[in-house]
Structures are given as C-alpha cells and as structure tokens.
Symmetry: C4
Subunit: 244 residues, 4 copies
C-alpha cells in the first residue's frame, strides 16, 4: 500500500478522531469535570492520542523517502511526542480545515472566502479553549471563563486588542501570537478577495473595449479572404479559356 492510498483511507477516521478529541478537550476545559467523568475524558483523550501516534508511525513506515518525510514532518513528531502539552495537539485540527477546503464553494474566490471564514471561526474556538486551559489555573490570570476566553479570542483575531483581557502565561501568549498572525491573514484574505473582485469587474469593461479593438482586424482578414477567392476564380477562368 502506498502512503497516498493510506492517507486517502485514513482521512475520514482521523477527522472523526480529531473531532472526538476536540469535544473531550472542550468538555474537560470548560466543564472542569471531576471524579469518574474526568477519568473517562482522560481515557478518551489518551485513546485519540494513541490513534494519532499510530497514524504517525504508519505514515513514516509507508513514506517512499522515509528520511525526507521525517525531516519535513518534524512538527507532527512534536505533536505526538509531547502528549501532555495539550494545546499544541489542537494543531491536529488542521485536518478539519482541509476537509472544509474540499467540500464547500465553487468559484476560486468563493472557496477562499469560505475557507478563511471557517478557519477563523475554528481558530477562535480552539484558541479560546487552549488559552482557557493554560490560563485558568495561573495566578493573576484575567481569562477565567469560556465566555471571557471567546471574547478575548475575537478581540485578538480582529487585532482590536482592548487590553481588558490578555494571557499572562508563556503558552497562553504563544497561542495568542498564533491568533494574531491568523488575524493578519484573515484581514489579508478579506481585502484581497474584495480587491480581486473589483479588479476583475473593472477589467471586464476594459476587456470589452479590447474586443472592439480586435474586431476590425478580423474584418480586414475576412475582406482579404473574399478578395483572394475572387482572384482564384478569375485565374480559373483564364485557364479554361480556349487558348485560341
């Protein structure tokens, strides 16, 4: 079995796993579950981790150039090798985005916009979760409920940054930096889509003008063709004339 074939087969189960992980993680972080519920959630999360570790091993095994694949996918190793470093594992959810990319939208611009809106929404949700996870137990933390975390994530990704809430732990700040950069990317895509639309609409009218410039060229060619046809007829007549 080639690696490509394995990936095609594994895509949907992996996405399901990622969703289960997200749900369990969200529950644990927001619900602050205790007792047997906490244990169950912990088991589920370890299971999803196991599936991701297996997927990593399978990919490494099936890769055609194993050495190269290893070097190009160091970030995947990092996600698998640090099971306790949970916010980082959420990077796995990028899988979700690739599916979003595939299913919705028809025109190029439509697809780009859908993709970005989906990514932004997912990033806000995951970012809020991750920050809440690391911040809620920190001393002097400002972000203590999921509502606060969501509000903070939105003010951050839009680069508004009121400053009523901000992370104070190193990992929280790492997550925040990722959100800020996404914000810049989102802004960029929104602007670029509008610009591309405007440029195209303006160009269409210009194109119509260009068409009208090309028209006479074609008319001239058609004129030439009739002229030559007439010439040929005359030569044919000349040939058919009894030469005395």
């Amino acid at each position: 079995m080639t690696q490509q074939r394995y990936r095609d087969l594994a895509e949907w189960p992996l996405m399901g796993t990622a969703l289960v992980f997200l749900a369990a993680y969200a529950w644990q972080v927001i619900g602050r579950v205790d007792g047997s519920g906490a244990e169950l959630l912990e088991t589920v999360m370890w299971l999803t981790w196991g599936i991701f570790a297996l997927d990593y091993a399978a990919n490494l095994w099936l890769a055609r150039e194993r050495h190269r694949w290893f070097l190009w996918n160091l970030h995947e190793l990092l996600i698998v090798a640090l099971p306790f470093f949970r916010p980082l594992r959420l990077l796995r959810l990028v899988t979700l985005l690739s599916v979003l990319h595939r299913t919705i939208g028809e025109t190029l611009r439509g697809r780009v916009v859908t993709y970005v809106a989906g990514s932004a929404a997912l990033l806000v949700f995951v970012g809020a979760l991750a920050v809440l996870d690391v911040e809620q137990s920190a001393p002097d933390a400002k972000i203590l409920t999921f509502g606060d975390a969501l509000w903070w994530a939105i003010t951050t990704i839009t680069t508004v940054g009121y400053g009523d809430m901000y992370p104070v732990t190193p990992i929280g700040r790492l997550v925040a930096s990722a959100l800020m950069m996404s914000g810049i990317a989102v802004l960029g895509v929104v602007t670029a889509s509008i610009a591309s639309w405007l440029v195209q609409r303006v160009e269409e009218s210009t194109e119509a003008a260009a068409e009208s410039v090309e028209e006479p060229l074609r008319a001239e060619l058609a004129g030439l063709a009739t002229e030559i046809a007439a010439l040929r007829r005359e030569v044919a007549e000349l040939k058919d004339r009894p030469s005395l």
Copy 2:
C-alpha cells in the same frame, strides 16, 4: 400578487418604519425617558414591531416556495420572534443600506466606497446605541453615556481598541464582535478600492504599449490587401488581352 411585486411596493414604507424605530429607540436609550413619554415611545416601538411582523407574514404567504423561503430567512423570524431583544431588531436597518446602495454613485468603485462609508457610519451609530442600551444598566459597565458609546464604537470599528472602554455584558460583546468584523470589512474595501484604482491606472499605460505592439500587425495586413488588389488588376489585364 407575487412576492417580488409586494417587496417593491413595501420597500419605502418599511424603510420609513425602520427609521421611526431607530428614532424611537435612540430617544429611549439616550434620553432615558420616564413617565408618559416612555409609554409613548414604547407604543411606537411595538407598532413598528407589528409592522415588521406583518411584513414577515406577508412575505411568507406570498413566497413561491414557502418552505425554502422559511429556511433561508430564519434570521428574519428571529428578529420578529424576539420582540424584547431589541438590539437584534436593529438588524432590520439593513434595509436602509440597500437603499443607499441604489441611490448614490455611478462608477462601480464610487458605488462601493459610498456604500461602505454609509454602512460604517450607520453601524457606528446603531452599534453605539445597542451597546449603550444593554450596558448602561450593567454593574461595572464602562460605557454610560451616548458620547462614550460613540467613541467606543469608533475605536472598535477602526480596530484601534484603546481599552478605556469596552462592553462587559454578553450581548454588548456580541454587538462589539459585529462591529469589529465590520471594521475588517471596511478596511478591506478601502484598501481594495485604492488597489483597484492603482492597478487600473498602471494597466492603462501598459495597454497603450500593447496597442503599439498590435499596430504593425494591422499595417502588415493592410500591405497584404494592397498587394492582392494589385495582383487582381494584373490578372484582369491578362484576361482582357486579346489572345492573339
């Protein structure tokens, strides 16, 4: 009567109703009216709500595919079904924007810019109103006067976000999120308009250059045409020669 015809007829009265609602709402929120004045305003607002509810019913009744219209217009139902949730009702004012879209501006770019500037101004005003409405009675609120609310709305839509004022209630934060996203859209449209203008101006000079490239092609075609005409004349002479 078809739905389209009904909408054409109802547009202006509905816009008037929206304006009356906005005025009554602004008065109530900013003026903190008491006594009989408050009762009058409340009556006016219930009346406008009634008109919107009737409009919703009429639309649903006249829709060709009633089921589909219902599903695609769930947000309208939400606005009508929650009469106490006033800030949301301000979404009705989108009607105003569609008129702005129709009346002003001639070139595509001019229309886009006018539309965005108008939308931004309306959003700032409506956003300030809505936030003031929900915040002014909240404990620990920062936004207490309409001046403060306007100032906050402007710092938010421009994504500056000083942080001297920010909403603290869930609905206030919802309104703020809408303003932030509008801010990104405004930024995008401003940038895109300038970019499209620059691209077009630069292209015009390139186009002129392309024209000069096309020129020789046409000259060559014209040369061919004269050549063939001459050829035809000669063949005609040949034909007319008494063949001895």
Copy 3:
C-alpha cells in the same frame, strides 16, 4: 480676474500663512508661553486668521457660480467662522499636502506613496498638537506633554492603540477619530501600492508569454506576404510572355 487665476496667485502666500500659523500654534501649545510672548503669538494667529478670512471672501466673490461654490465649501466657512475653535483651523494645512502632491515623485506609485507618507507625518504632528491643545487643561487628562501627544498620535494612526493614553474631551476624541480614519487610509494605500507593484511584476512575465503567443501569428502573415509577392512575379512573367 477669474477664480482659477486668483487661486494660482494666492497658493504660495496662503501656504506660507498656513506654515506661520502652524509654527505659532505649535509654539503656543507646546511652550505654554506667558506674558508678552503669548500676546505676540495671539496677534500672529489672529493675523493668519484674517488672511484666511480674506481668502474665503475673495474666493466667494470671484466664484462663477457663487451659490454653488458656497454650498460646496461650507467646511471652509466653518473654519473661518469659528476663530476660537483652533484645532479645526489646522484643517487649513491641507494646503500643504496639495503642494507636496505637486512637487515630489515621478511615477504614479511613487507619487502616491510620497503623498501618503507626507500626509501621515503631517497628520501625526498636527493631530498631536491639536489633542495636546484641548487635553492639557482637562481634568483627568492623560496626554499632558508634547512627547506624550506624539506617542499617542503614532499609536493611534497605526491602529495599535495601547490605551496608556487616550483623549477624554469631545474635541480630543474628534481629532482622534480623524487620525484613526487616516490610519486606515494609510494602511490601505501602503497595501494597495505593494499589491499593484506585485500584480504588475507578475503581469509583465505573463505579458512576455502572450508576446510569444502572438509571434507565430506575425510569422504566418510574413509568410503570406512572400507567397503573394512570388505569385505576383509569376503573373507578371505570364503577362510579358510573347503570346506567340
């Protein structure tokens, strides 16, 4: 004398006046001058105001369609009619920008960038002055020195908005709003210039490819021309042959 001719003549003197006003205003605001110095500055500022008032009157007098000019230039009346509302008078400095527009830069993009950089610098300086003027005497004000005002103006025009400083008076907030909008415009122009440059560079390589597509067309035309020339020569020979 036509209005256009008057404006051409008055441009440089008016700009000098605007500069003198800016200098006097800056001195008064930053230096907090007292005694006879303050009186002198006040006199200078009233003089510049007088010149601007005269200019307004002259323009109104010379305008071809006086009524229309009056309506389209209400903002100029506002600046002249409110001599005590000094920050607004700084709007007069827009004159400076129009000169900047004329003197520097050769290509379209170069001119746009120079213009925007100049405008941004002037806006930061003027905005800082205006805010300092209205804020420094307000209770609870945060902006108390010109250094603070400059720092605040820069954080505002770049839409960073830390929130360590912000205006608290209505006029200060009006000036701040103008700066924020300028910030969005600056951002838009910077982005648009880069985008236009990138689009053009990418297009140039595409254009080269288009050229190579057009090449065979021309070669084919040249081939036709030689073919027809040969044909003509043969027909000429035919004609010259002694028809026995």
Copy 4:
C-alpha cells in the same frame, strides 16, 4: 578598487560582525552580565563598532561622488557617530535582511513573502532587545524581562496593542514606532501577496478565454495561406501550358 567591488568583498565579513554584535548585545541585555564577563562583552561591542566605523570610512573613501554619497548616507554616519546609542546600531542588521533576500525563494511572490516573514521575525527579536535595553532600568517601566519584551513586540507588530505592556522612555517609544510601521508594512505585503495570487488565478481563466478568441483569427490566416498556395499552383499550370 571601486566601491562596488569593496562592498562585494566586505559583505560577508560585515554580516558576521553584525551577528557577533547582535549576540553580544543580546547577551548583555538579557543576561545582565556583571564583572569580567561584562567587560569582555563591552570590548567585543567596541570592536564591532570599530569595524563598522572602518567600513564607513572605506565606503566614503572609495565612493565615486564622495559628496553625494555622504549626503545620501547620513543615517550611516549617525549610527557610527553615536557609539553609546546602542539600539540605533541595531539598524546595521539590515545587512542580514539583504542576504535573506538573496538566498531564499524562487518566484517573485515566494521571495517577497520569505523576505517579509524573515524581516518580521528579525524585527520582533531586535525590537524586543532594544526596548528591553532602554526600558529595564527606567522607573515605572512595564517591560522588565526578555519574555515580556518579546510578547510586547509581537502584540505591537500585529497592531493588536493590548496595552498590558508599553514603553515609557523616549527611545523605547522610537523603537516601538518603528515596529508599528513594520507591522503596517507586513500587513500590506501579506494582503498584497494574496491579492496578487487571486488576481493572477482569476486572470488565468480569463486569459484562456482570450486564447479561444484568438484561435479563429489564426485558423482564418491558415485558410488564406492554403488558398494562396492553390492559386499559385494554378498560375504555374497556366504558365506551363503550351501557348498554342
């Protein structure tokens, strides 16, 4: 030796010197080194300064139009002439960027993006260092550790600006202003790259359509060519016919 040749030769050694300076500076600022270690670092930094001063002198000596070079490179004099004004010396690291520009990336867009990402990362690092250097000894300073400085630099370059940290000294604010402007430039380049990519992709499909418009033109030309060839053959037959 011409100036150009000298610059080619000196580039790599100068970059090495800049890196040594950056390392020593970072060590001194972050490590707050004392005793003999501090003296060693100080010596290293003076040495690198000496090399930069020599480079300035060599450039001035070899410049073809010495007077003009001097005027156009006043900023280099400023860097060399103020040895105690260390953050400014970090401007020398622009050298690093020019190398980044040369080594990575193949397509125009790829190169621009790589360049900007590299510049942004370097700017954040250098900006954090410079601000920490001037702020950590200031009273009322907010930025006291390198972690804080990095976090502050990221919130600044993305124009989020929470306001939990901000510089309070004039030089710190100067550095911050540079970071903010870089932030705007980064945003501009990101947006412009996406816009250019979108415009190109949309144009490619338009171009394909244009191709199909050009197709018939070529077909017509080919038809003309066959027609003329046939004509020539007939004339040749006419010529070869025994005339009588």
